[in-house]
Symmetry: C2
Subunit: 380 residues, 2 copies
């Protein structure tokens, strides 16, 4: 019986993860759950999965349910609670399903314990890729990616040698605005940006998909996961989201992984790898789908994607600045404080103004994240 700790259990990935664990209940059980503030869903999850520990990050939300936690389940609170749970709970697999920079610290604790990290939190590798990669090696931990793109590449690389990879081809749906002109970005509303054609996801990642920053973060993540430079990572728009990504080898052969746009498959793979376990998920019916199309992304239109490539090439804390500025800009857009077209402008300003530390340690990364947020918050 494998024990799974789910960091961020009420988000889209977390809920899908528990769904997968239900299907695999003879081999997997839940060791711990953490949420930000959705305590209502947490209580349901506690009843169904009987975790030993739960963490509520928001302190006032935590206080409201402290009387409702069943015996045998410990309630921890706040950032400290997240760290304590990641450090002390008994688990085999750490599902990093929390969105944003805040997922970094508890994930680092799981890595230090040499656990398997099923990684859905992009920011862990985006902001601290070099440090995380080193820490994984030192502690014999392992990262199995959960993002459908990186899971696809991981699957295509099984039995292959990284040294004979010519390039990675990340596919991108192009998001809700793939067929819009750049001028449309001046008037794009929050509702329009949240209307993703293929994937049902949280609001932060859906906006990132509309700006294509999501793909930019994935390029940086792929760089650290697979050890390849930016020039060996390509992005192709594939509106149907059926080919989840591809690997091209030095002999010209390309391997691709296909599936429906459903996170349950890459989540299950990250839990069961190297095994594949039978399930009743819907199957991909290519004749019914009919056509898969591909075209190159317009980097002039999707400036965030270009900014991400640039930040990866710059290195140091540039990806951290990129990510922090993007998090603030996206939340400002969601609050209707800025236009959609202002998102790349704010990120670009931050990359220009916040000092880049080319040899960062964890301390300077946390500091850089903080400084960048402060900087972007005071721009307008």
């Amino acid at each position: 019986m494998k024990k799974v700790f789910v960091l961020g259990s009420t988000g889209s990935i977390g809920v899908n993860c528990l769904n997968v664990i239900s299907n695999l209940k003879y081999d997997f059980e839940v060791a711990g759950l953490t949420v930000n503030s959705n305590t209502q869903l947490l209580l349901e999850q506690i009843r169904e999965f009987n975790p030993k520990v739960v963490v509520v990050r928001d302190e006032s939300a935590a206080k409201k349910i402290s009387g409702k936690i069943p015996k045998g389940c410990e309630l921890l609170i706040g950032e400290d609670g997240l760290i304590k749970a990641a450090v002390e709970t008994e688990y085999d697999i750490f599902m990093g399903a929390m969105v944003g920079f805040a997922g970094l610290a508890p994930t680092l604790e799981a890595i230090k314990r040499g656990k398997r990290i099923a990684l859905a939190n992009k920011e862990t590798l985006v902001v601290a890729g070099e440090i995380v990669t080193k820490l994984v090696l030192e502690n014999s931990a392992e990262i199995i990616p959960v993002d459908s793109e990186h899971s696809a590449i991981y699957q295509c690389l099984v039995g292959e040698n990284l040294e004979v990879v010519e390039k990675l081809i990340l596919t991108a749906s192009g998001g809700p605005f793939r067929d819009k002109d750049k001028s449309f970005f001046e008037t794009a509303t929050v509702d329009e940006a949240l209307n993703h054609p293929n994937w049902k996801m949280g609001s932060k990642i859906t906006i990132d998909s509309a700006t294509m920053m999501n793909k930019g973060l994935e390029v940086i993540e792929a760089h650290w996961l697979f050890g390849l430079p930016a020039e060996k990572i390509e992005v192709v728009i594939h509106p149907q989201s059926i080919i989840h990504s591809m690997v091209q080898f030095v002999d010209g052969s390309i391997k691709a992984q296909l599936g429906l746009p459903d996170m349950k498959l890459p989540i299950q793979y990250a839990l069961t790898f190297p095994e594949r376990v039978r399930n009743n998920f819907d199957r991909t019916d290519l004749p019914a789908i009919g056509s898969l199309t591909f075209y190159e992304p317009d980097l002039n239109k999707f400036e965030c994607l270009k900014l991400a490539f640039d930040a990866l090439n710059t290195g140091g804390t540039a990806p951290c600045i990129l990510n922090a500025a993007n998090e603030v800009a996206v939340s400002k857009f969601l609050l209707k404080e800025i236009k959609f077209s202002h998102i790349p402008l704010l990120i670009n300003k931050a990359l220009d103004k916040v000092e880049n530390n080319l040899s960062p340690n964890l301390g300077t990364i946390f500091e850089c994240d903080k400084v960048t947020r402060e900087y972007v918050n005071q721009i307008i």
Copy 2:
């Protein structure tokens, strides 16, 4: 330095194979070459590759060049020469690039010697799959498929476990007649049938592609190569021939191998496996290709494909009867003795009339092949 024996060096696969060996000349050399009757090209190949032995199957063609063979190269003649060369030549890899049933006997000799068989000759597995598979195991030989479809599946299975395969999805271009009505088959000419949209191949296999018997033979071949029953092997029409085939696993994940329609890539893979070696073959540019399409084959229209599935399910010598009848019918069509629409009719008659031996040995297979050919030849 690996030594390669090329059975059928002047056909399409053979010429491509020598082309690949030229590119890999620091690691591979030619041990032997065999041809049917194209001695002019053989002499050029001898000058370029310096084989120790060559075989000319056609005796009168052989006599004409016996004086032109350079010193240090032995000339053997006829079927006996093929066997002797396969048995006695020193080589590491046997490239079975000869078309038709006649490729079986020398391939069996290479298997008995425990060699790597780079297998392009479909008939070896179609007519004698059970015997060949057993012989491969007993002699620690290995078969690496060269057909682009089977090479694709082989590549997708690297690092994966055959037990978790849910189905194989063989792609088919649909051939030159994929968009024609069945009624067109009554008047289809040899030139029309030889006009394949994607692949440049020999005439036998191009006609097989027009009838989709080629895909039928590949289904049977896939059955023996990967040990899966007919109901786990699916055919999908994919007119662009970019996805060469796919594997669907029990978790619903699909892996595909993509490349341009060029046999050099699967040939190189069969030679260098498990390595992948850098080359300068043209690369696949998905944005330039734009669209990949898929639909289900019409088994009522492509009767040969249905006959092949039926023969696989029947077992015994049924695939041998199917293959022999098809070889005779195709040559009759190429000689304009029968209509295109008669090809499945002749095969169906042979399957109906020639006795099926459900536990064949090599002797009964050779006998079945002979009897079937005689039967089909006397029908009209």
